[in-house]
């Protein structure tokens, strides 16, 4: 694999700290809430091509993170940054082929995962090479002062993932930490810890400054979705092997020891990504439910049913509610304290990613390339726009922009800016009962069809006449009379 560094020198010194959307869903709790994000409607601001891959080559969760000046996304074999102001290319770093996952930004570092092989749909017939490092996790990071181009050469296509930290200003690799298995969780940064999970159930915390491993624990069978953190706890959903129940485990941030483990009642084979807000952690389950769990002791506070299963994306949480989207594209708003459903809106557009929330609207990316905005108070759709001819994978927000990653014929980033002149709408969910509309629709369809068919039927029946049921037999039929002795005589 040929690695090449494509950098825009002008961007090198423009990195600032304290960006607005520094990791997946904006913060360590994965709330997806941006209190300063602009309100809809929006208009297209810019588009930028990156190496996410088209619909058959994309894999993992390539969602954007935003600094004050850059939008960054982890693609198949590269990490790409564009200027957030106009979408122009800032720099591109090579990356060992592997599933995309959410990166994280600290004051001056970018942390991301690389390697793990090709998991895209296109790889099913041609598995990727396995030339990776040892599957044994290292207990200390390997620091590298070399330029990023040479560092990249040390990360060929692998069957395990590696946590990489680069200097955002110089793009040089600061340190790397091999993991014991492929990682899909992305990087969770809380305090000075970078925490990653691996498919083999290992969760590892490393110092963001030095890359030294702080702790590593094995929590069970598989840790796949992104993790969340609040206070002194980190939360990970653990997928079991067959015929067991999935669990949500809370680990102490300081040493990785287990604080509690929540095992949902019922038949729950898997849990999605969790969202931690205040003293509650929210998680969707494979039995089409959302559960709220106390961070203090892991007890369940409430649970609510969804109409369809979800794709496992984390709920978005703001002071106005808990928002979750199922696979069929129905968005729900729940009361955070009681779990009472406030509204639901059926977009009828398949959703593979979770929503984000602004003070005014919930924004939902969908599989047909549309982004839908729903008023958080009324539950009505107030804006929508097409961002792609395929899946919109993830969203991020700044005070000025909404940035999305997309696949399809133009994989990459697309940004929307507020535009007061753009069209808005006020659409009620199709799940809202409308008895008058129901009767009108039924009458308008049923009456003409019934009358037309009845009018057609009478002459047809007359023309065909009565069926001669007795004459439709022939002689070669076996019946009980055929061996009648009188017949034989």
């Amino acid at each position: 694999m040929a690695f090449a560094l494509v950098a825009a020198p002008a961007a090198a010194s423009s990195i600032s700290s304290g960006g607005p959307w520094l990791q997946f869903q904006g913060d360590a709790g994965r709330t997806g809430f941006s209190p300063q994000a602009p309100a809809p409607p929006y208009t297209l601001a810019w588009e930028a091509a990156t190496g996410l891959g088209d619909a058959t080559h994309v894999s993992g969760l390539p969602v954007p993170v935003l600094t004050d000046t850059l939008a960054i996304v982890v693609g198949r074999e590269e990490v790409t940054a564009v200027q957030i102001g106009d979408g122009s290319a800032a720099w591109t770093l090579p990356r060992a082929l592997g599933p995309s996952s959410p990166p994280a930004v600290t004051d001056d570092e970018l942390l991301y995962l690389e390697g793990g092989g090709d998991e895209s749909a296109s790889a099913s017939a041609t598995p990727s090479a396995s030339t990776g490092p040892s599957a044994t996790p290292s207990t200390s990071a390997s620091r590298s002062a070399s330029a990023s181009s040479s560092a990249a050469a040390e990360s060929p296509t692998t069957t395990t993932s590696t946590l990489v930290a680069i200097d955002l200003a110089t793009r040089k690799r600061l340190w790397t930490m091999p993991l014991s298995d492929v990682s899909h969780t992305g990087v969770l940064v809380t305090g000075d810890l970078a925490i990653v999970g691996a498919d083999d159930g290992t969760i590892t915390a490393a110092s963001t400054r030095t890359g030294e491993q702080v702790w590593s624990v094995d929590v069970g069978d598989h840790v796949l979705p992104p993790m969340s953190a609040t206070g002194d706890l980190v939360f990970a959903s653990v997928r079991p092997e067959l015929r067991q129940t999935a669990t949500l485990v809370a680990l102490q941030l300081n040493d990785g020891s287990q604080r509690w483990r929540y095992e949902p009642s019922g038949t729950v084979l898997d849990l999605g990504a969790s969202t931690a807000a205040g003293d509650t952690v929210y998680v969707v389950a494979s039995d089409s439910t959302i559960r709220a769990v106390s961070t203090a002791d892991g007890s369940q506070r409430w649970a609510a049913s969804l109409y369809s299963p979800t794709a496992g994306s984390p709920p978005a949480v703001s002071d106005q509610g808990v928002f979750v989207t199922d696979q069929s594209g129905t968005v729900y708003s729940f009361d955070p304290s009681t779990g009472a459903e406030r509204w639901r809106f059926a977009t009828n557009l398949f959703a593979v990613s979770g929503p984000i929330v602004t003070p005014d609207a919930l924004l939902q990316p969908t599989s047909n390339g549309t982004i839908v905005a729903i008023d958080v108070a009324s539950g009505h759709q107030i804006w929508h726009a097409s961002a792609s001819d395929s899946v919109v994978i993830g969203l991020a927000a700044t005070p000025d922009l909404i940035v999305a990653t997309r696949t399809g014929s133009s994989p990459g980033l697309v940004a929307f800016a507020p535009d007061a002149t753009a069209a808005t709408e006020d659409i009620t969910s199709p799940t809202t009962a409308d008895p008058v509309g129901l009767m009108v629709g039924w009458l308008a369809a049923a009456v003409p069809i019934t009358v037309a068919l009845a009018l057609l039927g009478r002459p047809l029946y007359r023309k065909m006449g009565s069926p001669d049921l007795a004459t439709d037999t022939d002689d070669d039929i076996v019946d009980p009379w055929e061996s009648d002795p009188e017949d034989e005589a």
Binding site: P264, T330, A445, A454, G457, M464, D472, I477, V478, P480
Partner: protein, 325 residues
């Protein structure tokens, strides 16, 4: 026939009305699945041709205004009930309201999963109970609908008119159609197991195959139950024998019907999305699809009535079949 309706008499002079005491050897002992696996009745099929059967089925249904009106009215009532219970679509599932099992059973399982749900976290019977209750309720509803269509079709074909007898008779037929529904549920479960083992090919041969088998083998049971007074087991085995009459093209009818009905069910037709207020076009499509379902049911009724006197009550023994050759 004990239903009070006129029954086709054996043409005078063609044979004696005296039935001799059985001089033949006693019927051979029947095996467990003899009704299904015994050799087919030999000879050319007396069954009307497929095209003329469908035409007769359509003419029969379209000539019964109350049946035509009953289709959309039933759909409206069922949809309103389901929405009240929490179902929110897709409305295209209503396209099987008058379908033939296992097509109905296939959608009942999905519909029950979205409508009759256990409380969150329930375990054991509390977890499965509401779903089972829902499937059973839907299955019984479809059994009742199938019974009414069968009896109405039988009376129209036999007498040229429809009376309250059809409804009264349907209350007897519903037992048979309910059993057929439960058998279809078993077939679908078996098909799903096969699909799980065989993957994509299994999905085709397992799931679709189980539907075709169900329609093919048991599609005549409602007609038999409506026209004759038989035990349920006899009715079902007789349906199998009718289905397997050589040259009848019953298998092709089943294959074609299942494919068309499945396409109507899963295609992105109007009403294929979540929502509780179907559009005019969604209603129109669903009504037309259900009229098609009723026409196919009526077609099966006509085909059975046309061959009813020709169907043996016992599977033809293998030796007897060989001796005729």
């Amino acid at each position: 026939m004990s239903n009070g309706k006129k029954r086709k008499k054996r043409p005078a002079g063609t044979a004696s009305t005296y039935r001799a005491p059985a001089k033949n050897a006693a019927p051979p002992r029947r095996g467990l699945l003899d009704g299904i696996l015994a050799p087919r009745t030999p000879g050319a099929s007396p069954m009307p041709r497929l095209r003329s059967s469908l035409a007769r089925g359509a003419a029969t249904v379209l000539a019964i205004p109350w049946l035509l009106l009953g289709i959309p009215v039933t759909m409206l009532v069922v949809w309103s009930l389901l929405v009240t219970l929490g179902f929110q679509g897709p409305f295209t599932m209503m396209g099987v309201t008058f379908a033939i099992p296992p097509l109905t059973t296939f959608t009942d399982a999905q519909l029950a999963g979205k409508t009759f749900r256990a409380t969150v976290g329930a375990t054991g019977f509390a977890s499965a109970g509401p779903g089972l209750l829902g499937i059973s309720s839907l299955l019984l509803f479809h059994a009742a609908a199938g019974a009414v269509v069968a009896t109405v079709s039988v009376e129209k074909l036999r007498t040229g008119s429809v009376s309250m007898w059809a409804i009264r008779r349907a209350s007897h037929v519903v037992r048979t159609t309910a059993v057929v529904g439960f058998i279809s549920l078993g077939l679908l479960i078996a098909g799903n197991v096969l699909a799980a083992f065989l993957g994509g090919i299994g999905l085709i041969f397992g799931l679709i195959g189980s539907m075709v088998v169900g329609v093919y083998l048991f599609g005549f049971a409602p007609a038999i139950a409506a026209d004759e007074e038989r035990r349920i087991s006899d009715t079902i085995l007789r349906s199998v024998r009718v289905a397997r009459m050589p040259g009848s093209a019953n298998l092709w009818l089943a294959v074609g019907y299942v494919l068309v009905a499945l396409v109507a069910l899963i295609a992105p037709l109007p009403g294929a999305s979540v929502g509780v207020t179907p559009t005019i076009t969604a209603w129109a499509v669903a009504i037309v699809v259900n009229v098609m379902n009723v026409i196919v049911q009526s077609t099966l009724v006509y085909r059975y009535l046309a061959v009813a006197p020709s169907v043996s009550d016992q599977p033809v023994p293998r030796k007897a079949r060989a001796s005729r050759r």
